[in-house]
């Protein structure tokens, strides 16, 4: 009688979950959901990660905080412990957000390891073989972020309770590369999988991103490999969305609307996190990206939600990336209108300059990128206006275009004319003037990436690749905590390993500088 087993209908054993392909799909869904949601109950409850506010612990929200808030792209007025330190670039080893991100990513690795080993019993089923390849992709994606953010993390590929040894970027880089190459034959061909699940194109796209940063990560010039892999994606069935469903003159904003899983935007998404206001609720994801930057004079109705959280704005550093497109300036000679659909600034009642970050919303232009309305302006499925339907692309085709263009601009071969036309395809969609080959150099591509991909979680890595993240070569308001910006220590290119994990696993050595 002492051997009690679960009687709860919501609790299952390994045997139940890996009984057949259909049940195992629920375990596969958790690997994706580990990046999109925060626990087993929506919008919060039964959290995956403890010790942090559950809404904060959602992957893409943390990715935003670590990769966008730390840059010229965003500031936040909230004072939650550890949050103001991100833009001020003075985070410590106990920072709540860096710690929670480490937990989130390593947990996704653990979930994936468990899935890969348990699903092996069903791998004769071709569908399950694809599941396993997708699980390996997700693990590789988690490791890509671990390597990018924390560098020296353990490389663990099986479930074990033994305290792992520390690895370095070389080992993890090699692992990600071999995994993404190794799963190619098991992943479905481009466009042949269900929406929401990755296929071969996602693996190629992630490889192109990996190689683009190879100099920073492992000191190797791999730009030629960027071109090879980007080409595979560009030649696949994916395409840039040109469907201007709401007829506002550009097909760019459709990428971030509530119906972006059906309005044509989905053709551009190589790896997407799905969200739904009813069935897939979280306080992170696009619910966060819609509410958090909403405040001041912005009308919540236009954003398909019931109100804003008055938190995030942007700096003039980002606004100035659009200097060429300014069509109108206010009395202070600050730009207020642009002929580039990607300059989605909300300026009314907002100040271009930032005097105060904390507890204000007015300082810094607001940004109107994510809207929980469909192409007809109808609010998403959650009638209460709390949770968004917008899906969030983690990798989309436009990034691959720009990976290609940058590699070409860096002299890795490829086709400059093709690079120019890819860039112009994006600019044309945005209604921005086209460019010529002569305009393309690495710095131009960096600025184009900022314009095209801002608030999608890439900025910090991009700035590091150009050595602008910590140095004095590029300053933005309140970089390093100084109003006019200042350089910070170069070790801040890598985040610290969590203090509390170091206490437990003495195999680990803290990253330099912390």
């Amino acid at each position: 009688d002492l051997d009690q087993t679960p009687i709860d209908p919501d609790l299952f054993t390994e045997v139940d979950v890996y009984k057949n392909a259909q049940e195992a799909k629920g375990a596969l869904a958790k690997l994706y959901a580990g990046l999109a949601l925060t626990g087993q109950q929506g919008p919060a409850g039964q959290a995956d990660i403890s010790g942090v506010d559950e809404g904060f612990s959602q992957f893409s929200r943390m990715l935003f905080n670590l990769n966008e808030l730390t840059t010229d792209h965003a500031v936040v007025g909230w004072g939650d412990p550890g949050l103001p330190n991100l833009h001020a670039m003075n985070w410590g080893a106990g920072n709540d957000f860096t710690t929670a991100m480490y937990f989130r990513l390593s947990q996704v690795v653990s979930f994936s390891n468990s899935f890969i080993s348990n699903a092996a019993v069903l791998s004769d089923d071709a569908e399950v073989a694809a599941y396993i390849a997708e699980a390996r992709f997700i693990r590789a994606y988690a490791y890509y972020n671990l390597m990018d953010l924390f560098a020296n993390v353990p490389l663990v590929t099986e479930i074990t309770t033994a305290l792992p040894e520390q690895s370095n970027r070389e080992e993890i880089f090699a692992f990600i590369e071999s995994e993404l190459q190794g799963i190619e034959s098991d992943l479905k061909s481009p466009g042949s999988n269900e929406y929401g699940r990755v296929d071969q194109a996602a693996a190629w796209a992630l490889l192109s991103r990996l190689y683009l940063n190879a100099e920073e990560f492992v000191g190797q010039n791999r730009y030629a490999d960027v071109i090879t892999n980007a080409d595979k994606v560009i030649n696949s069935s994916y395409s840039i969305n040109t469907n201007d469903g709401n007829g506002n003159g550009s097909a760019y904003d459709e990428l971030f609307l509530a119906d972006n899983d059906t309005n044509g935007a989905q053709n551009e998404f190589l790896f997407v996190l799905t969200f739904d206001g009813i069935n897939q609720q979280t306080f992170g994801g696009t619910t966060f990206l819609t509410h958090a930057p909403l405040g001041g004079d912005m009308d919540p109705v236009l954003f398909g939600v019931n109100g804003g959280w008055s938190g995030y704005r942007t700096t003039k550093g980002f606004v100035d990336q659009f200097d060429y497109a300014v069509t109108e300036r206010d009395g202070n000679n600050h730009p207020v209108a642009w002929n580039d659909a990607r300059a989605q600034f909300f300026t009314e009642g907002q100040n271009y300059e930032i005097e105060t970050i904390a507890n204000t919303f007015e300082d810094g232009y607001a940004l109107a990128k994510f809207k929980n309305v469909d192409i007809n302006g109808q609010q998403g499925s959650d009638t209460s206006g709390d949770f968004a339907d917008i899906d969030l692309p983690l990798i989309r085709l436009a990034e691959v275009y720009l990976n290609y263009a940058e590699a070409v601009a860096r002299g890795a071969g490829g086709d400059m004319a093709k690079a120019t036309s890819l860039v112009n395809e994006l600019r044309t969609r945005a209604g921005a003037p086209t460019i010529t080959s002569a305009d393309i150099d690495p710095d131009f591509v960096l600025a184009e990436r900022s314009r095209e991909l801002h608030w999608e979680g890439l900025r910090r890595t991009d700035l590091i690749r150009f050595n602008l993240f910590t140095t004095g070569s590029y300053l933005w308001p309140f970089k390093g905590g100084a109003q006019n910006g200042r350089a910070v220590e170069s070790f801040r290119k890598i985040f610290p390993l969590p203090e509390n994990v170091l206490l437990i696993n003495t195999n680990l050595t803290q990253n330099e500088g912390y």
Partner: protein, 959 residues
Amino acid sequence: TVTDSGSGEPLPGVSIVIKGTTTGTTTDFDGNYSINAQNGDILQFSYIAFKTKEIRVTGSELNVTLQEDTEQLDEVVVIGYGSVRKEDLTGAVNLVTSKDFNKGQVSSPQQLIQGKVAGVSIVNGGGAPGEGSNFLVRGIGSLNLNSNPLFVVDGVPLNDGGVGGSRNPLNLINPNDIEAISVLKDASATSIYGSRAANGVVLITTKKGKAGEFSFNLRTNTSVFEPVNQVDVLNPAQFRKLVRDTGNQDFIDRLGSASTDWQDLIYRTAFGSDHSLSAVGAAFGVPLRASLGYSDQDGILSGDNFNRVTASVNLTPRLLDDHLKFEINARVARTENTFADRGAIGSAVSFDPTKPVYDQNSPFYAFTDENGTDFGYYTWLNAAGTNQLNLAPTNPVAILDLIDDQATVDRFVGNLKADYQLHWVPGLTATVNGGYDLSKSEGGKIIPNNFPTAATGYDGRTEQYTQEAKNYLFDAYLNYKKEFGDHNLDVTGGYSYQRFEFDNFSNNVERILNADGSLNDEASLNETFIDKSRNVLLSYFGRLNYDFDGRYLLTATLRADASSKLNPDDRWGYFPSAALAWNIHNEDFLAEGPFDQLKLRVGYGEVGNVNGLGDYNFLTRYVISTPSAQYQFGDSFYRTYRPEPINEDLRWEVGNTLNAGIDFAVLESRISGSVNAYIKTTEDLIATTVVDPFTNFGNTISANIGDMENRGVEVELNLVPVRTQDLEWSINYNISVNDNEITRLPDTQEVGGISGGVGNTIQRHQVGAAPFSYYVYKQIYDANGKPIEGAYADLNDDGQINSEDRYLYKNPYADVLMGLSTNLTYKNWDFSAVSRASIGNYNYNNVASTTALNGVFSNDILRNIPADYLRTEFQQFTETNLLSDYFIENASFFRLDNITLGYTLAEGFFGNPLRFYASGQNLLVVTNYNGLDPEITGGIDNNFYPRPRVLTIGLDINF
């Protein structure tokens, strides 16, 4: 002749035995007796409720006076799986019997002994009717597990926790049914209960049937509950001035023209009454006690109500020449709770006092006036005037009016116990006891569609739940008592099986209505949660009591427990104890001394703890996600499976207590008391701890990680300064000192969530400090002692103020607790008073800490702030202000809990006694604490339900 020392009346029926023999007799109706005895023999005179006296025979006539045993040294104290005479106790055990219980308006059993037992802290959760209490014996014993003691009612250990919808798990017992409460404090006393006794054991013995004619007792009282104080906020005039002086025109334009005291509107004077009827007697030769109770009490928060019906029956039939004794107990209680939503408390503090309660423009309908005009609840509206503004506080009156939250809780506890004294082995008794404890609740909450929210098209919400907790008990044990000359042996050994089952169901519906107002089932978001678990505890236990000549006492116990919550390898825990006592007053050299009692005790014991630990933590298990946390593939949503964090190595948390004590009584027991000193170490504390996340499925697991130590001293004194035929005055005083420290913990733990910001915590567990110590910034003050906003000490001298500058400062638990009570009876009058003091407990004033000027102006909404602002004048609400040590306040207090005055008419009711009384509770609090009430469980003071002052009049009738 044997006479009563008090009244001088002769005592009939006193039993007289020549010590060491079986020769004896009893006194006749006039108190006379005769017995054949030799000079030098010792005669033992004993009589129920009188002190036993031993006198050496020195002549042919021996007149004896017996003293009424107010101290009841011969009282039988119930201990685990048996009972002993108080004189034979070897552990730290307090017994409080019905005559010493707190009087007045008492709706839960804990209240009966509040302030009466040294080392026991009982803090009720607030002023709601029937509210539960946090009950701590000798301080906090665990970090994450349950720190409450084990409650045992007539031999049935109750479930650890309550069920949803219940305000207090002990509400099942009508306090009037309780005869005595024993508190077993040290491990030598508790370890017979093994793993469930880590935080002490509270044994509740209910009143039993007696042979004889039926007699009845009716107790009835009526109480009035008055709100005593409110959070001090800016009044409408102060608020207007502040907004005009400091706000921009946008905000000034938002001021209203009303003057509303929101707190006045949500609190009220409440009434309650309590009635109970009991009958004691023999039916068909079987002693029986039956009782019925009814209690109905409103809370001072408008709409709050607690209603309880209890019934109990106790039967004690005896068969086979009294060799076979049965005890049957059954009690049922139905509690109906109507919960006033406590969100109104915080909302009433922050709601703009210049706004009216009702407003014609509000879309949230409240009533139609006589002119046919519709009024709604005043609400901060969005620009379109359709919804509440995001982040705006909700009208507190609307909260109380509109949210309907009710629960019905049924509980049954019953047991059947049989003692069989074996005919063929004198002294051997076999006992079996079967018990069943069932709690069942059913409740729900309905929020209608006119409730002010920010949600667009809000159609309301319903929440329903049922919860069931079952506990099965089977005990079987043998007891053998034997005397060999001066050697007395009492051995018990047995087996116990307990099974605990929980079955919870809840269903939440975000309603979507059709055009005709009916519920659209398909569109409504419907979520169902089911939570079930079962665990088993299997035990063997044994106890040896040995005494030599009543002078030297030894108790040794051993319990072996196995819990299904732990992995098979670490499942069994062995918990031994041993205690020695020396009754010095029974030594010849003290025979003539002043001591009626002088006893030295020393004991050591171990107990385990897994109470409150989840089930199956050592198994790999997957939890499925709810319908609102699915994942979309293609056009379908999939519920996901998540592997849960596991710990295959969970072991018992083990507490070891060393206790030494002295009990004494002198001057015919007019001065008595005891002193105890203890050291309790808890090893392998189970707490949530961070793991390397690559090695598990989560970042934290429950694991055995730390050690903790409690040390303390307790003193109790009972004085009877006056005892005459007409007047008796007694005083009880107790004081306890407890010091609690974490002695091992690999990493610190942030605990104590507070309001303000998101996810902030104010307390920390850290080695070398008391658990739940506050972790704060050190505020810097100006020359006038006023805190300088944003100025904190740079404790690590790195030139910046950041989280590294926080330090540990004070904790919520008192260093010293005292209780002082007194009883005075003069002829037919009785008077009692009970008071308590707590010294060195600190609160975090979360009401004040979220107060800053910019809190008045944000998100287009005006909010009121507590008048604390006038002390600090803090401009900005920031995380560092929130975590300033300025808000850690000394909350030491003295509270006059209860004064009762009664008068008894000896032949008031057809020749039967009739007592009237009047009682006042929570009459006076003396404290320097700035918040509403210094006595806050856990120390974080926020939206506290104020404790009312209670005035009661009542009547007790016997017939």
